[in-house]
Symmetry: C2
């Protein structure tokens, strides 16, 4: 069990020569997710040789342009490439209207199944749930309705402890599934053998939390607790603390504080304002409060394994 995150863009506001607006590509247990889709994302996908057809689910955090202006182009390109597999779009209410209006006016209806899942809840909810992965929203505090997303591997079945099981002839092969599911074994005489005596813990399930854009808010801490990787926006440095407050963004130090309070394994910074020439200062500032920090950079791949 492992997941791989590829940064396609990690700057705020507008695309510039060397600064791509937000988009990330996540592979987790054979599911491939696109997270946000700034203008030019389809070019970045090509640049990093990511197969378009693998993307089945697109998550849009909010409707500011640097997070979704590339979506209509990607949807159209999928059609030109004769896609026939379904595509699911998760994003704030209104996203369906924007996309359908553009398809209507260009007389370019897509020929693959396109499903919209519009989000309106202010509490965390499960928006995708298959046999291997669950995706939860992380309600964020920004200038408009915004969600982060928590991608969680499903827990695997418990592992059988065969040397222990062999001590109990009453336990049959047909009981194994119940043991893997965590159930205790009840003997014919009514006595109970505890599950933990018969199985090992499964490999711990991994998780990735994506939080962009948001002001500093500890309300997300319970949701992202112990996460293996946390991407938390850091648009500003502390010297522009007031600007962060005003625009409802975070500083690198605030991102570090959230990471520490959430006891995550690693913090990834991004969504940098263009006013800073060097990104090194973001790293230094977050390091003041939290050690395992990395900078997002276009093209960077981060693989998380157990």
């Amino acid at each position: 069990m492992s997941f791989k995150l590829t940064i396609l863009g990690c700057h705020s506001a507008t695309p510039r020569s060397l600064a791509h607006t937000t988009s990330q590509y996540l592979e987790m247990n054979n599911d491939c997710f696109l997270i946000d889709c700034g203008e030019g994302t389809q070019r970045q996908l090509r640049k990093y040789k990511i197969k378009f057809s693998k993307i089945k689910h697109v998550f849009i955090s909010h409707l500011h342009g640097d997070h979704f202006f590339g979506l209509i182009g990607l949807i159209s390109t999928f059609n030109l490439l004769n896609r026939n597999t379904e595509l699911h779009i998760y994003g704030p209410k209104g996203i369906k209207e924007i996309i359908l209006l553009q398809l209507k006016l260009s007389n370019s209806w897509v020929e693959y199944p396109l499903h919209f899942h519009e989000l309106v809840a202010s509490q965390s909810e499960i928006i995708l749930d298959n046999d291997k992965v669950q995706v939860h929203t992380i309600p964020l505090q920004h200038r408009i309705y915004t969600n982060g997303f928590l991608f969680k591997e499903k827990n695997r079945p418990r592992k059988l402890n065969m040397s222990s099981i062999d001590n109990y002839p009453e336990i049959d092969i047909c009981d194994y599934q119940n043991l893997k599911d965590g159930k205790d074994f009840i003997c014919q005489d009514g006595s109970i053998i505890l599950n933990k005596e018969l199985t090992y813990d499964p490999p711990r399930a991994l998780s990735y939390a994506y939080c962009s854009d948001t002001e500093y808010t500890e309300s997300i801490v319970p949701l992202i607790k112990e996460t293996d990787l946390l991407y938390h926006e850091s648009t500003f440095l502390e010297e522009h603390h007031q600007l962060a407050l005003k625009t409802k963004h975070s500083t690198a130090k605030q991102a570090g504080t959230i990471a520490r309070k959430s006891n995550v394994k690693k913090l990834l910074l991004g969504h940098y304002s263009s006013r800073y020439k060097s990104l090194e200062l973001f790293l230094q500032e977050a390091h003041q409060v939290f050690e395992p920090v990395e900078l997002a950079e276009a093209g960077k791949e981060i693989t998380v394994t157990r």
Copy 2:
């Protein structure tokens, strides 16, 4: 008098690593025009060091994505750059609804005057007319409502022939403007001195015709007659003639034929389909019917002078 055209993108369908979708930047008599605006156009503008603030007028030929998916991003970026000068958008009916819906849902109203000029006419019309330049629509035949655009310098005043004027003491300085405007001079005795005796022809006004996307149609010939530079789409080569017919595009040979029938000074090809590895074949094919042909390429600048 001269004009300069910069190609920002000239490929059809979808942006790829080395293929930018359609956009052009035209400087004519201090007016700066953006013509079409595929996804990624703002990055191309930066790459070729074109000042965003110089663009006052944007012309959108039609609402297929490869010609306008970059517009909302550009409009938003203008706002982030604190633009305060007005911006005029000319394009098919519906363009205003698309842009305003996206601004509304992102709660990002622009703070500069944004004017929409929606086009519905099926006949050529004048859509911009200032003291130096006129812009006419060129109705095209495509799968959806589409216009090309004809950019025409205004004729300059006639030049005074002072050595001739000096022979007529009756002509005073206050008569010069009438002579420049082409009027004959009426003497006190009622006799007439013809204007052509007193003035020279002014420098010939230049013109640029932009025609993308369209099937082969001779209906445009009277509109673009004698144009100094004609951009005519050539999505296909003749070997895919049937595909051009079906998708309402043109071949390079058809573009050459239109150029010949219109007696333009130079033809510029573009809007190439991605199926062709070499663009040289487009040049060769157009050459069969028309000699002065150039290929559009991203970054190419074409200056037309008298």
